[in-house]
Symmetry: C2
Subunit: 336 residues, 2 copies
């Protein structure tokens, strides 16, 4: 298959790769998130990922950027693409439990609360306006913005948002075996709360059950004047669904074929329902000769930290698929 | 006098105006800082100033951007210049007591402690490396960086730093009558602590008695590859002195003639001692027909929030002095 699912004629002069970091307390529910060695430690993943991408190594803990099952994390793929392109990424802190160890553009939000029991984001409107301000600033400097995310537990908030907005949605997972029943349990309780609540706008649904990445991303989409590409799987489809219900213009979404091929999710169909133009990146990890990367093909990890978008951007900048694949291989091999 | 004290041949394509926000607990010592209605409230000034410059109005409190004596704050001058040039400023949070209400590029530092009694910045080295990372990011996007600051009480930390580095320094003040004896009292106690301490590097002196703006600014100066202009008075001369003692290349400094003409300070002489090329902006506030602005000429306020640098940048961008003066007048009149 081709490296990109379609050829794009995007012209740009000054691109930026950006990733929005956030937490939702749902990632601490056992079995929900695979983005960390224990449920509690998933809360630290965005901070460690940003550190890895910035420094090329995790400096604040003595650990390797691999999943508990030995797959290279998506952050290490993003790191490889930043090395290859020379792009300095910008991290946006939308609301984290732990203080980042590298500089971030900060929206001064809070981590998302558990939406089964209380409003996830009491300040959702504020975070949206912070995103609008960020988008204005970024518009003044960059004409192409590839916007990723790192929110452990974020596919579950995405499920709740999509269902609450009326979509027939199944979301992906970083686990090879998607913990669908656990996510459905959460979603059932959340939809019950929402049905009994006072919903007047799409941002009310975000307040009920979103994660902090979502309103910030939607705010950026509202004000950003250049070419915007949302880099992620079902989480970015949830962001797209909110943008649509707010009456905004839908950005492109880019993700990996591993998300598309997740049979526990309905990515293609969901993108159609929302009306999103979605682009798939196929880095061909199956025949790179790395056992951990090959496991992406059987459904582990799949995507994250805008890895699909980072590969997409490297391609737009003129790097051919072999260069991209080789750089990923050499970067992840240096970690193992 | 001419609007700028010298004609500069800076060529650039993509400029950025940036201001570093920080607190030092010294601003809460009664009589030290004029940057706020009460000593305690000086801690909030950077947050309110950033809000004013971003939104054109202070939204989180019902107050006007004037000093207790009725002078327009320097932030309102900076706001006027952002309106005139269309530049979207970036705020850097180096270490504040209060959460900013607008997005900031955050170094995740802490407010500076009172250096009379304890280390002001236990993590000075870390803040310096955060500044280095920020400078790298900014280098990739902008070829001219005008870097201001807003640190109430910062002339007193500047005095301590300059004296500790061996300079014959007297610093300026936002008060018409500089509270020199109070600052000298603080400085005497700090120098005593430093003499008894373990000083091995210039950053140790910053750790002993700096404010969080300083190591971040020095880190940016270390890594930034474009044209860097430090926008401020004696505080930026203190930053320059640290940069020099670290062996770095000295950036230009730009400030107002009101700082230069402060007879309680020795700005010209100090710049010579450090070896800094300093540029003065003369906006001629005396004959603009605004009583509050005219008081800048008798030594109130003088400078702050990179106001001198913002006017300098507006001039570099081709705005003539009358356009700049008229915009400042109309902006501050709208607030009174």
């Amino acid at each position: 298959m081709a490296f990109l699912s379609e050829i794009l004629d995007i012209t740009f002069q000054k691109p930026l790769f950006c990733s929005i970091l956030g937490n939702t307390m749902l990632s601490t529910v056992p079995g929900i998130s695979g983005a960390g060695p224990t449920p509690e430690k998933t809360l630290l993943t965005p901070v460690l990922d940003a550190e890895l991408i910035t420094h090329g190594t995790i400096t604040s803990l003595s650990i390797k950027p691999n999943t508990p099952t030995g797959c290279p994390t998506p952050a290490s793929i993003t790191r490889a693409m930043m090395e290859l392109t020379g792009i300095r990424p910008l991290f946006i802190n939308a609301g984290l439990c732990h203080k980042p160890t590298v500089p971030c553009f900060d929206a001064y939000g809070d981590p998302g609360e558990d939406p089964r029991y209380r409003d996830a984001l009491p300040r959702a409107e504020y975070l949206y306006t912070q995103g609008v301000l960020m988008g204005r600033f970024l518009s003044s400097s960059y004409d192409l913005l590839v916007l990723g995310e790192c929110v452990p537990g974020g596919t579950t908030t995405a499920l709740c948002i999509l269902r609450a907005l009326g979509y027939n949605a199944s979301v992906s997972s970083s686990f090879a075996s998607n913990p669908v029943p656990k996510k459905e349990d959460v979603c059932r309780m959340v939809l019950e709360r929402i049905r009994n609540g006072d919903i007047r706008s799409p941002l009310d649904i975000v307040r009920f059950t979103g994660d902090p990445m979502m309103p910030v991303a939607c705010g950026i989409a509202e004000s950003y004047t250049g070419d915007l590409v949302l880099a992620g799987g079902t989480q970015m489809l949830a962001v797209s669904a909110i943008i649509k219900s707010l009456g905004g213009q839908l950005p492109r979404v880019v993700t990996t074929v591993y998300v598309r091929d997740d049979h526990s999710a309905n990515v293609r169909n969901l993108a159609e329902q929302v009306g999103v133009r979605i682009i798939y990146v196929d880095p061909g990890f199956g025949d790179l000769g790395h056992a951990g990367l090959a496991r992406y093909c059987i459904g582990e990890v799949k995507e994250g930290m805008g890895a699909g978008g980072a590969m997409f951007l490297a391609s737009l900048l003129g790097n051919n698929p072999e260069t991209i694949r080789n750089r990923i291989l050499s970067t992840v091999c240096a970690y193992s």
